[in-house]
Symmetry: C2
Subunit: 343 residues, 2 copies
């Protein structure tokens, strides 16, 4: 790919992630000659201002992708299913932020700090992993590289912004109903398309996305399957419980790992992570230093703390991993994939 003067498109331009992709492209001075903002017919004509310029949103049609070099997709799985092949057909490389193609063969699933080499094998579509997966594999990669990891058991603490702008509005409205909290109006969470909705304010909902026949949610299965694909290790034992919290932005994860090196210490784990790109260790109990979602909002990095050794199981460690789910979990990682692609 010509690595200058690129024509870029963002599908889902009016969404939370689409807007942040535009911001990150500008902030990181991505060499785009043009940026075309695409969305549904309903949003066509919307003006988006960023970096001193105004972008006018156009309706997405197959012809939108004529002459496009890189197309970011973040408008839901069905839009990707419909238009990503049209973009590829016209010569664009698609970086897809939905789950539509993630597990397909021939579609690299990439976190640039972890498996950039997979980019060489794409056939037009590159998938951006699920938000909760990205921050976990980014933090664990240096540990895996140095000590090996055979097992991961993760419980998540996920923010509502992962469910879109309406979920944020719902949390804000419900948060005012402190006294009447169990009767709060709920229309969006756990999933807009679910039959039942529950208040998220002052609650924890152990359902993100819909259920599979196995009893796991699709969110949990994404974490389990995507982690194995990204790490290129189908024998890795990964299992997950995903929970939605009354947090606006910032996913947290209580991650338990078993390393292959039973002699690894907390200091070993910390020092492996300290050298890693995009990872910040915030881990000092003596000063109450640990990551929290409220302070990760708006930050690019993945934050790790509460690193502890399991007293009963050699090689077992706990970690507390926090990141902005809209940035490293979505928009930033997509833009980093594009940067890696044109290197």
């Amino acid at each position: 790919m010509n690595n200058e003067n690129l024509n870029v498109a963002i599908v889902g331009a009016t969404g939370a992630v689409g807007t942040k992709i535009l911001e990150k492209l500008l902030e990181r001075k991505f060499p785009a000659k043009t940026i075309k903002m695409l969305a549904s017919k309903r949003s066509a004509g919307t003006e988006i201002s960023a970096g001193g310029q105004t972008y006018i949103v156009e309706e997405t049609v197959p012809e939108s992708f004529e002459g496009i070099d890189i197309a970011f997709f973040s408008a839901g799985g069905s839009v990707s299913q419909k238009f990503a092949p049209e973009a590829v057909k016209r010569g664009a490389v698609v970086i897809d932020n939905t789950s539509a193609f993630r597990m397909e063969e021939g579609v690299p699933l990439v976190v640039p700090e972890v498996n950039p080499h997979m980019l060489n094998e794409h056939e037009g579509i590159i998938a951006n992993p699920n938000c909760s997966t990205i921050q976990m594999v980014a933090a664990l990669q240096p540990v895996k590289e140095k000590f090996g990891i055979s097992r991961i058991i993760v419980s998540t603490y996920q923010a509502v912004s992962g469910a879109g702008a309406e979920a944020i509005d719902e949390l804000e409205a419900q948060s005012k109903e402190f006294q009447e909290r169990s009767n709060s109006k709920a229309d969006i969470l756990p999933s807009a398309s679910a039959a039942k909705h529950y208040p998220i304010a002052f609650n924890a909902i152990p359902q993100i996305d819909m259920f599979d026949d196995s009893g796991y949610t699709l969110e949990e299965l994404k974490m389990m399957n995507e982690t194995k694909k990204i790490f290129g290790d189908q024998n890795l034992a990964v299992t997950a419980t995903c929970v939605r919290l009354p947090v606006v932005t910032g996913h947290s994860e209580s991650v338990y790992i078993e390393t292959d090196d039973v002699n690894a210490t907390v200091e070993d784990i910390q020092s492996a992570m300290k050298g890693a790109s995009g990872v910040v260790v915030q881990d000092d109990p003596s000063t109450q230093t640990y990551p929290m979602p409220l302070f990760a909002e708006g930050k690019d990095e993945v934050f790790v703390g509460r690193i502890r050794k399991d007293p009963k199981h050699p090689g077992g460690f706990h970690l507390w991993i926090v990141a902005d789910n809209l940035l490293k979990g979505a928009a930033l990682n997509s833009v980093q994939i594009a940067e890696e692609l044109i290197k």
Copy 2:
């Protein structure tokens, strides 16, 4: 003990748990002839109304325990340290809800559904376990009995009411600051006595109680050590991560267990629990049925759902366990201990 016409005292009578102990004694028709409400000098004279009667709070002094048969303590560890021996000296049996004596030899640590037999070995003081421990062992006991449990890895999602009435007020005030949430005033959490305080609204704080040199918090160590003592199994591998959430009442726990029976199924686990006293299985993904803290508030039972088999580890299961931390986690369990004692 004479099992009728008992003289009962509640130390910490004005606190959240003390009030609930009184309520549970009345609701469950505990055979108390008198109930003496005790607190600090500051609270002496306070009137507490319950069950159509008014109780006047008295200052706690050693002589308060003359003639008392059962004394419930829930006024902090230092109050228990000072006055529990005075109560025992005067012939009372102490049921202590603080962590003051829990790990001492000769002090039974009791959840009546799990280890009632330990009550025979008390020397005057019986300890009520930590809230997060009680609900976990109550739910796991039927599984342990039927299939054996060798390992527990738990991540908690804990409510602010565990940190007292001031923490509830703080959450309510901060919840109104949706836009300015990262600048919310914080004075109580993670721990009133900690050097630093962080907002809990729209956040998750991975610190409950203070840190030990091991990097674990005292709350985490309580779960780990108390579980082994209650189950009477020092070889049990238990490890915990404890996290505070913007939830008013109701602790949730993502619990991963390894059973000894590698052939156990989800249905086996469910049916073992369905027969257990005090445990309610709420587990049907097809109807989005699972426990949530917002709906456990005010309920006596321990609720369990999201029971799933680890696809990679035979015998490994996930459970999602929720209970009212002020009731089964504190007041109710204390009253149940008293009931067991006079059986």
